[in-house]
Amino acid sequence: MSDIVRRDVRIEWIRRNRLHPQHNELASAPGPTRGPTGLLRRLPHNVGFIGPNGIRRIDRGAGAQGGAGGLGARALSHSAQTAPLLLHHVEQPDFYVAVVVDIAAGRLSSHDRDVLGQAHRLVRIHADDGQGAVVAIVLGDVREAAFDTAGVDRLIHLTEVNRQPLTGYCPELKLAVLQAVDSELAPRYWLFPDSIHGGADLGARLAARLGERPAVQAWQVDAGQTLCRGGSQHTDWQRPTSRVMLLAEECALAVGETRHEARPIELAAIPQVSPQIQDRGPVEVDPGKIALSQAEFILAAGNGIQDWDQFHQVATALGATEGASRVAVDDGNMPRSRQVGATGTWVTARVYIAAGISGAIQHLQGIRQCDKVVAINLDGGCDMIKRADLSVIGDSRAILAELLALACARRGRSGPGTAPIEGSQEDRHVA
């Protein structure tokens, strides 16, 4: 295309002439205006729109009503085309920093990301010794994990070792893998998240096996010194940085500015081990006895629920812990201890089903840390729908009835495990 800007003098004339029959259709979509020299002209009076009270409003965020060439439109186009992150490339690493991520529920947690960020800090600190690579060791199934943006240069991902699956509790198999990694790559540091999802356990096992003294609950790590939190959180220990470290939460900022290769590495051989601990699978626990703040799976009810017996049946059939919005509690349908939200409990569930909850801001604050939110609501425009990962628009009573039928069908198929309906009945206090 040539650079010469051609003006359509006739259209400009029509735009100026309010009496022209075509004026309205051309003036409404003005497009960029060019001056006589081809310069882009901006008419400041066209920015924004006139609000209902006659005052000009400039909506810089939405940019929808911004005038031609207005700031809103420009800002929108800027943020829409986010530049791709810079690729951090490591061809021949001189040393490795190994990170064993938890992958609790198949996802990288924020703790995992912080530990990966700390690994990159250590790589940068030791930049004099050459280029280091962060190798993430992922043991078990992965559901969704953006390893490249989390800062993984090399990836060791195993779902089975010597035809033994790495699911459930298998610390002995995992330890064998880590030992193989240690002998093959000889990482300069071993970093673990000091978490209850298995990171602390595995890190302590590896440290005991390698004969290293680990830094536990480390929260400030640099090349020479490490600060560790002591017992009952009331002392700090300053000590030399060790090779195996169990890092506390928020130990470093996660990687955010770069993209990484996440290039897979194959391990040569992993020695055979015969585990002495055998995982017999999860045990059913009464979901009503789990504290709301700890529960993994919550079915919460709000103003849209009329049939409370049905709601309790669905919760029992699904094995979900019951929650409630403030309205349901105030109306006396659920006990106060089951209230979710800013004035109730802040929950950390992996899956949260909101049935008949429109999503007041206090309630949305309470479920901020939930992974997956499912909304069942009649109102397709409520705030809960905007927050939810899966929204179903419809009558909650009919949908819960279908869900109950499906859950009962599943239960009948999966075995004789009957729902412990009795016992929790008296717990259901009505205010």
Binding site: A75, Q233, R280, I290, E296, I385
Partner: protein, 263 residues
């Protein structure tokens, strides 16, 4: 409670330490260790042995005896001694099938490494964070492990083993002063070595950790304004408007199964 078959045979040893009250800082029985003692009492009754390495003059040790146990083996060692060799030697001389401990100490470095080092030294399996031991039969134990979120997992482990006891285990019974006074504190001097690694370390009162601020990486003022005022929103979830109720319920069920919360 389901009826639990308690085998009187397993020899249980519980490793106890001196705890620290979170508010007053006074010495007390450590919470997790007390739960371990409670589990030991359930498994072996008063035959459960208590072992402590460290300061034997500490009066808080009698709190464990006050839970109804006749004797506590206290191995005298200095404050900078390494407890693991002494414990391993003690367990070799007085064999046990199950060794119970808390997860972390309530004072000092509190690395939680003692059970791991002990298990490594003895060559025993270690089960972390248990809530209960259900049965012990034919040299194997069925152990209930506590998981985050109130979940439980059943593990089968061969004897002998080391286990750390989680806060989810049953609450420790109250201790009584009289039995605590009457119980025997069997003091012996442990042959320990000084923990050389820790000599250069500095202990200081805990600094408050800086709270992480929510850093907004917005380029323009409009983006920053939006980040400060916008309501929390998901990343564009799936919305199902049409279809029968059955299809909608099936969509929810598919998600629940994919997330693994419904089996």
């Amino acid at each position: 409670m389901p009826d639990v078959k308690v085998n009187p045979n397993p020899r249980v040893a519980t490793l106890v330490s001196v705890g620290r009250h979170p508010e007053s800082g006074r010495a007390r029985r450590a919470k997790q260790d007390a739960r371990a003692v409670e589990l030991g009492l359930k498994m072996a009754g008063t035959a459960c042995r208590l072992v402590h390495v460290g300061d034997t003059t500490e009066p808080a040790l009698r709190h464990y005896l006050g839970m109804g146990l006749p004797q506590l083996s206290a191995l005298q060692a200095g404050p900078d001694a390494d407890a693991v060799p002494a414990l391993a030697r003690h367990l070799n001389e007085h064999p046990a099938d199950i060794v119970l401990t808390g997860i972390r100490a309530e004072s000092g470095e509190a690395s939680g490494m003692v059970p791991y080092l002990l298990a490594e030294r003895l060559g025993w399996p270690l089960v972390s964070r248990i809530a209960d031991i259900q049965t012990v039969e034919n040299g194997v134990a069925d152990v209930l492990q506590a998981l985050p979120g109130g979940q439980r997992r059943l593990l089968r482990v061969s004897l002998p083993f080391v286990a750390t006891v989680d806060d989810a285990a049953s609450e420790a019974r109250q201790y009584a002063f009289g039995p605590g006074r009457r119980g025997e504190l069997a003091i012996s001097v442990a042959d320990t070595t000084v923990d050389e690694d820790r000599q250069g370390w500095q202990e200081m009162p805990a600094k408050p950790r800086p709270k992480r601020l929510n850093v907004v990486k917005a380029k323009s003022a409009a983006d920053r304004f939006k980040a400060a005022t916008a309501k929390p929103q998901g990343q564009g979830g799936k919305v199902i408007r049409d279809g029968t109720d059955r299809e909608k319920a099936e969509a929810i069920m598919t998600l629940l199964v994919a997330e693994g919360v419904v089996r």
